[in-house]
């Protein structure tokens, strides 16, 4: 039996890895903003190296999946899938959420005054908003994928 994943499975894997990679990337942006703001601790350094490690693993896995997809032949005229549709929905959700945050930026950061970030320089704000966008993208993608999680196909065991 051929256990090699087909092109569609590789595309699903690529979508999942991209959504997974968004989380450590968001963590790196947040940690970078915190470091630039002068915060420094052993915990932050450990988290920074952990996020870099996870991101490196994701990038390696993504590169392998992309290389295997490239070897798998010509793309089909239509490569639609549940995973691709879910990623598009997650991208749309992250865009909408980020738009809302940006339009409500002033009031949100007034509320965050208690955290001492009212005087947040624009460069940190950009990193934080980008990180927020990536987190929403990733959580929406995995949330929708989990909603569609199904029991294993009983006929798979028979075949």
């Amino acid at each position: 039996m051929n256990n090699q994943p087909n092109r569609a499975e590789l595309l699903d894997r690529i979508n999942t890895l991209m959504a997974a990679g968004a989380l450590p990337f968001a963590a790196l942006l947040l940690l970078d903003a915190l470091a630039d703001a002068g915060m420094d601790s052993t915990l932050l350094r450990v988290l920074d190296w952990s996020a870099k490690g996870v991101l490196a693993v994701v990038v390696v896995l993504l590169s392998v999946a992309v290389a295997r997809k490239a070897k798998s032949g010509k793309p089909a005229p239509d490569e639609d899938s549940y995973s691709a549709t879910t990623l598009r929905k997650a991208l749309a959700a992250s865009w909408v959420a980020t738009f809302v945050v940006l339009t409500q930026f002033d009031s949100l950061f007034e509320g965050a005054g208690i955290l001492g970030v009212v005087q947040l320089p624009l460069v940190y704000a950009g990193e934080i908003v980008t990180a927020f966008m990536l987190v929403v993208l990733s959580l929406t993608y995995f949330g929708l994928m989990m909603l569609a999680s199904d029991d294993p196909d009983p006929s798979d065991e028979a075949s």
């Binding site: 595309l11 549940y82 569609a148």
Partner: protein
């Protein structure tokens, strides 16, 4: 509102195929087949036609549109 019903599970059973077998045969992932079967994912026209062609039946035999109340 119209709902899209399908008989993929029935056709698979008749042809003794698993979701993975059907997925491989028409070039989609198993997750795509399973989400189409349970009605969570509405397939593109191309995927619907590929499924019908695989079972050698008209697409209307696999997918039916039912009008709700």
């Amino acid at each position: 509102m119209s709902a899209l019903h399908n008989r993929i599970r029935v056709f698979r059973a008749e042809h003794r195929m698993s979701q993975a077998d059907l997925a491989r045969a028409i070039g989609v992932s198993r997750k795509t087949i399973s989400t189409i079967e349970v009605g969570r994912f509405v397939p593109s026209t191309v995927i619907a036609l590929k499924i019908a062609r695989h079972f050698e039946v008209p697409v209307e035999d696999v997918f039916q549109l039912s009008d709700g109340e």
